[in-house]
């Protein structure tokens, strides 16, 4: 179904307002839970900083609330972009709520991944992130994700994330392929971005 481009301002404002200020968990678990060791680490690495492919996200220091929400979205099938279906549906199917919290708590407590080198489009991405593109109805990313892209609550941490992962996910938002619970707001934003602008934002965020 083709989605109608919409002014994102109101929904965007309300969602941002609703964000909570939680980030990493306060008391890091001393040991990774068994699910991290036997399953998650295969792709995301044990500490979440070193995924095996560029399209796999870094989970280290990601918001606990966001990880929990996404794992539940994988499990109930509401997040259905191709990598989610291929990789995460089978994994999340076996997780109970307790394990989901344990996994989220572990990764949220890990040190933030180190910034990566950007690319030629990094300055353009920085401008979009900080100021948005008014004439394209694109708000500044930092309004929701924070000035250093640390995220908050359901808004994911984007700082230091893999460029390829961010680029692919923004394209999924743009095309509507990713349509989980809170994806509509990102769809309404990404639909106004060109592929080059998407790449620019992704390149910038990986440097934070």
């Amino acid at each position: 179904m083709k989605r109608r481009p919409a002014k994102p301002a109101l929904a965007f404002f309300l969602l941002c307002l609703g964000g909570t200020a939680s980030a990493a968990t306060a008391t890091p678990p001393p040991h990774p839970p068994s699910r991290v060791l036997t399953s998650c680490s295969m792709c995301h690495s044990t500490h979440g900083s070193d995924p095996r492919f560029g399209f796999i996200p870094r989970l280290a220091h990601q918001n606990q609330v966001y990880i929990i929400e996404q794992l539940k979205a994988f499990r109930d099938g509401s997040r259905s972009d191709p990598p989610a279906v291929m990789y995460m549906w089978p994994v999340s199917e076996a997780l109970n709520n307790h394990e989901i919290v344990a996994v989220a708590r572990w990764y949220a407590s890990q040190p933030a991944p180190r910034p990566q080198p950007g690319g030629q489009l990094t300055p353009a991405g920085k401008a979009i992130f900080q100021k948005g593109i008014l004439k394209q109805d694109v708000p500044a990313c930092m309004s929701c994700h924070g000035p250093v892209a640390a995220g908050s609550g359901i808004f994911p941490r984007l700082a230091g994330q893999n460029t390829e992962y961010l680029e692919e996910q923004l394209r999924f938002f743009k095309s509507g392929v990713r349509h989980d619970k809170n994806a509509d707001i990102m769809h309404m934003i990404a639909i106004h971005l060109t592929n080059r602008q998407i790449r620019a934002v992704a390149e910038y965020l990986t440097t934070l």
């Binding site: 680490s41 560029g54 990598p83």
Partner: protein, 481 residues
């Protein structure tokens, strides 16, 4: 050289050529050209998560192997309660990790019938194999830290044998600095089988070839030949994989195994493999492997080295003098996976050399040179689009010093694949096209063009047969479920 099994039509001097033949045949036997569905059932992942074109591994596939095939995403393990807590636990797969693999092929040889000493048969003008191979796999997790990749193979020569297999225990230790050490102990029946890269002999491209391809009659070093499918050898060893650096993007892999001859089942022909093979290993044959992989966001490259020192008895009698075969090699692999794996490129290069120190066996008239060398270089690349359309292109070179006792002499039969000069030098090109109707159903076409065969481009066997006479075209279908 085993006079008890060598048919009279085979001269003793030809025997080690046959070993090469058998080795290549065994090598192909030992290549499970597919993802194993039982792995997919265990992980919930489709084949393409761990494989590019089968059986080539992605980094995730390599990790799955290093972790002992124990990753189990689906809740398919049934935990049976212990009577006492301190008793050993029991976890059984709800779905047994069993899979079946079937290959069928039709092939054509350009220059007409050729006698293959490896299989003891002839190629005919064309050969249909239905099946070319049937394998029964037990592949998957056995317990928390133990997994198996074990398969029995039925071959065109009849009978089942243990194809290349391993059983391994693995664990890992993650450090706060982000590095991870994976360590394991394994038993296997084929040198290089435990390896996670596809640039070593047991896993190198092409991933299949017809049993009737003259490619199998080209001499090969022992480490290429020594497969569980060809003779009952078994190795016990261990490995370490250290993942370190920013993003754990550096992988260092070390493996050591000790191989011995044992009593086992050779594929198709029982303990005696073909008309001639090497005898048992004298004492223990050590194998060493070191490799390094550098990972980037969408691609990775590997470089490695391997070595094996084997003393083998020249006959099936495990006594007296032995021949010494010292193998050494370098390999490298580059793999581009792209975003979501829509387009995948992989390239391999490998060089394997062998120093051979022979003991004559007067009782059967085997009088080779005291020392020989044999070397092989293989360069190949594969492309896969959307996990549906594939293409592969490769070139191989084999060379060494002439030895009529090993690679000749001419027999007077123009169909025989022997060298008139005792020269092993061969090279040629392999082209393959693949179509995957589903991830577990593949159709392939493979063409091998020989530029040089056993020492010459023309009249290599002294009976007017040219290298191009052995050009070989085959069509293959495989199914796995």
């Amino acid at each position: 050289m085993n006079s008890g099994v060598c048919p009279t039509r085979l001269l003793p001097g030809r025997c080690l050529v046959l070993a090469g033949v058998l080795g290549l045949a065994a090598l192909a036997l030992s290549r499970p050209a597919s993802a194993i569905p039982s792995f997919a059932r265990q992980t919930g992942w489709s084949c393409s998560v761990c494989h590019t074109i089968f059986p080539q591994l992605t980094p995730i596939g390599r990790l799955f192997k290093l972790e002992g095939y124990t990753t189990a995403n689906l809740a398919n393990m049934q935990r049976l309660k212990q009577k006492l807590r301190r008793m050993a636990p029991l976890e059984l797969n709800r779905i047994p990790p069993v899979s079946i693999f079937i290959q069928a092929s039709d092939s054509f040889i350009q220059g007409g019938e050729a006698n293959q000493f490896g299989s003891g048969g002839t190629t005919g003008q064309g050969s249909v194999e239905f099946p070319q191979q049937v394998s029964l796999f037990y592949a998957g997790r056995v317990a928390s830290h133990i997994g198996a990749f074990f398969h029995l193979t039925y071959t065109h020569t009849g009978g089942f044998g243990v194809d290349d297999s391993d059983i391994r225990w693995a664990a890992h230790q993650s450090e706060p600095d982000g590095s991870t050490l994976i360590y394991g102990i394994e038993m296997n029946n084929t040198p290089t089988e435990p390896d996670p890269w596809n640039s070593v002999p047991d896993w190198d491209w092409p991933f299949y070839s017809s049993n009737y391809s003259p490619l199998r009659d080209i001499p090969a070093p022992y480490i290429v030949q020594a497969s569980g499918a060809s003779e009952p050898i078994a190795g016990v060893g261990g490995y370490l994989a250290y993942l370190f650096g920013q993003g754990e993007d550096h992988w260092l892999y070390l493996e050591a195994d000790l191989y011995r001859s044992g009593v086992g089942i050779g594929a198709g022909t029982g303990q005696v493999f073909g008309p001639y093979t090497f005898g048992p290993i004298q004492n223990i044959a050590p194998y060493l492997r070191i490799a390094f992989e550098q990972n980037y966001a969408t691609w990775n490259w590997e470089v490695g080295a391997l070595g094996m020192n084997t003393n083998v008895y020249p006959t099936s009698v495990a006594s007296g003098a032995s021949d010494r075969l010292l193998d050494y090699g370098l390999d490298s692999q580059v793999q581009y996976l792209g975003l979501s794996g829509e387009q995948i490129w992989t390239a391999h290069v490998s060089w394997i050399g062998e120093n051979q120190y022979w003991e004559p066996v007067p009782s059967i008239g085997f009088k080779p040179n005291a020392e020989d060398t044999l070397e092989t270089v293989r360069v190949n690349g594969q492309y896969l689009l959307n996990h549906r359309y594939g293409a592969g292109l490769g070139y191989f070179w084999v060379w060494g010093n002439p030895d009529l006792a090993l690679y000749g002499p001419p027999t007077g039969n123009p169909a025989d694949l022997v060298s008139a000069t005792g020269n092993p030098d061969s090279n040629g090109l392999i082209l393959e096209l693949d179509y995957l109707d589903a991830q577990n159903v593949e159709f392939s076409m493979q063409y091998t063009a020989f530029n040089r065969y056993l020492g010459a481009s023309s009249n290599y066997n002294g009976q007017g047969r040219n290298a191009s006479s052995n050009n070989f075209l085959s069509f293959l279908m495989w199914l796995t479920f």
